[in-house]
């Protein structure tokens, strides 16, 4: 039963703050996310090694060691709660029993911790979107689809508190769109293909969650927005183009919430800032402490409004002090302690710290600028004023481009000559997007390579 978001859950920038969200999420054990505190969300992954029947004992050992290390450090530093994200690796989703086995192992360790140390924890499990192992992706049937959903079910049974995914519908044409600077193709991938696939996918995920009494948390547009950010960071595409793509991912990721997701949204989904403004759901985010997983121009500003604060991911290698996951855990605890200490002193103090986070980055990069709470509120308002995913995505593009231009005029950001050239070029492309979705689809159809994308998977 699709919800429709027509007004913002957060209206005033001074209510837009780390640790508090209008609709907090409470777990069975009483841990509340978005209810006043920011908790760490720790992620970890295997070091260089394969996953197969022979290595599975070692895979288990690795996960047991990692969860052991991070829970030990959390207890030593008196953490009062934290979340663990277990983001599966493809082989663990391709073999759902393996994925579930590791879920169970993590669950048991966290339950032990709750007993011995009275630390409340949350376990987020994120199976992979393995549907793209068939090319063009088969999104609605076939072995990969079946295994993926079975993986969700088994992991729910094995003890996940939250389920999440980073789904990739539409990505089969979006990668090229990024690389070519093709705005229309990006809008088509996000506003038409991705959004339709999200609807299909999240209906299913939400029903699985209902069946097993697990929380449907959210879906990151990582394959779109972060791919662009990483490419911009390597100077392959303009930063302004990556920023624009980020804003355009909002309507797509919102679909999960329309279908029943409630948060906390995924860490790597920077569009979460907009999702929080629109839905009021709590969100995870990541920044400086996630540099281990990707470099970014938004290390501090991402701390402005999260409810969980994550390291994205780190492989289990030994650093000089301890294992890399232990090091990440310690860093996340210090980062969140600071925020919570500010909140303890009152809202004024929290807002002052938030503003330091914002001012640290927002003028330096347009990708940081669009994460400013006031900017996100303004753009979110314009986006949800539109009725459909396509029109919202088109509006996201137009409004963001307009916003960049004004920000440059107000000298809130400084775009280089080259970036300004791109601003003009992208605006020209955006202005040509038609009002009518049908017209747009008809325009796009002939440009698509059937070897790459199968439109019937999107009811087209």
């Amino acid at each position: 039963m699709a919800k429709k978001y027509q007004e913002l859950a957060i209206k005033d920038p001074t209510d837009f703050l780390f640790g508090v969200s209008p609709y907090p999420v409470s777990l069975k054990n009483g841990l509340t996310i978005g209810g006043g505190k920011v908790y760490p969300e720790i992620n970890f992954t295997l070091p260089g090694m394969g996953i197969n029947p022979e290595t599975m004992p070692e895979v288990r050992d690795q996960y047991a060691q990692m969860i052991g290390d991070v829970t030990k450090r959390a207890a030593e530093l008196h953490a009062d709660g934290f979340s663990v994200e277990y983001e599966l690796l493809p082989d663990l989703t391709l073999n759902p029993e393996w994925g579930a086995e590791i879920t169970k192992l993590l669950r048991e360790k966290l339950d032990g911790l709750a007993q011995n140390e009275a630390i409340k924890t949350c376990l987020r499990v994120t199976p992979n979107d393995i549907r793209e192992f068939s090319r063009p992706p088969l999104l609605r049937h076939g072995k990969f689809v079946d295994d993926m959903f079975r993986c969700f079910e088994l992991c729910a049974q094995a003890g996940a508190d939250l389920l999440a995914i980073e789904s990739t519908g539409g990505k089969e044409i979006h990668d090229d769109a990024i690389i070519k600077g093709d705005l229309a193709a990006s809008v088509f991938a996000l506003g038409i293909l991705g959004s339709r696939d999200m609807k299909f996918l999240w209906e299913k995920i939400v029903s699985i969650c209902k069946r097993y009494d697990v929380i449907p948390s959210g879906d990151s547009a990582c394959g779109f927005g972060n791919t662009a950010m990483v490419l911009a960071e390597q100077h392959y595409i303009p930063r302004i183009w990556a920023a624009l793509i980020r804003v355009m991912t909002v309507p797509r990721s919102l679909v999960a919430f329309e279908e029943g997701a409630v948060g906390p949204n995924k860490d790597c989904a920077y569009e979460g800032v907009y999702i929080k403004a629109i839905t009021g759901a709590p969100i995870a985010l990541e920044g400086a402490e996630a540099a281990c997983a990707h470099l970014s121009p938004i290390g501090n500003i991402a701390k402005a409004v999260p409810d969980l604060w994550s390291n994205e991911s780190v492989q289990n290698v030994k650093l000089l002090a301890a294992s890399a996951p232990t090091v990440s855990m310690e860093q996340l605890i210090y980062a969140t302690r600071l925020m919570n200490k500010a909140a303890d002193k009152g809202k004024g103090s929290a807002l002052a710290l938030r503003d330091l986070f914002i001012d640290s980055d927002s003028a330096g990069d347009v990708q940081a600028y669009i994460l400013r709470p006031d900017v996100a509120l303004d753009l979110s308002r314009q986006i949800i004023a539109e009725p459909t995913a396509y029109l919202r995505t088109r509006k996201a593009a137009l409004a963001a481009l307009d916003c960049f231009r004004k920000a440059q005029e107000k000298r809130e950001i400084t775009l280089s000559r080259v970036e300004l050239r791109w601003l003009d070029a992208l605006s020209r492309q955006a202005d040509q997007l038609p009002d009518s979705e049908e017209e747009f689809i008809a325009q796009m159809r002939p440009t698509l390579d059937p070897a790459k994308v199968n439109l019937s998977e999107y009811d087209l």
């Binding site: 295997l46 493809p90 082989d91 793209e132 690389i179 490419l231 080259v418």
Partner: protein
Amino acid sequence: MNKNLAAIYQSVVEGESSQTAKKVQEALDEGINAEVILNEGMVSAMSEVGRLFEQGEYFVPEMLISARAMQEGLSVLKPALAKAEVRSTGKVVIGTVNGDLHDIGKNLVGMMLEGAAFEVIDLGTDVPPERFVEAIKTNGAQIVAISALLTTTMNNMKGVIQAICAAGLRKNVKIIVGGAPLSADFAQSIGADGYSADASKAVALAKSLIA
């Protein structure tokens, strides 16, 4: 420089394909030698594009547009070039290792290699060792380029190298590898001939290996 040659050069740098095709035809009509058109008009334009990219003036999208202009020009030039026999820098088979679907990095490497006049055979993602072996045989490639982005698939590169050895092709090819979780150390440990951290360096590496 001849007026038409200059126009070709500029149209490639600016990525105006139709202009390139037109001016190449005019130059041919004027009687300019096909190889001169190729080298002074187009190849030198593409190196200017590379320079603009290194300088931050161009991004990949602009490079792609210039590359297309060059293609258009080439198709006009081809007949005249036929006998002159333009040699490619070398043949490269490229792919992402099995189990891994990340391909953007690999695509960029492929693109840059093409820009440097390598002939690139792209096997896509999730490529099993046999397909690498087969492609080397069919194409007589001098270089195999393998990409992996996951810590759980990087070890599969070893499998590819073993398959190449087993097929008796190891001495025919240089093997280069790359992807975020890799390092030069790792590359050496699996018996690859080279590693590079980004696409531009990959071109230099490929060139140095077959020099």
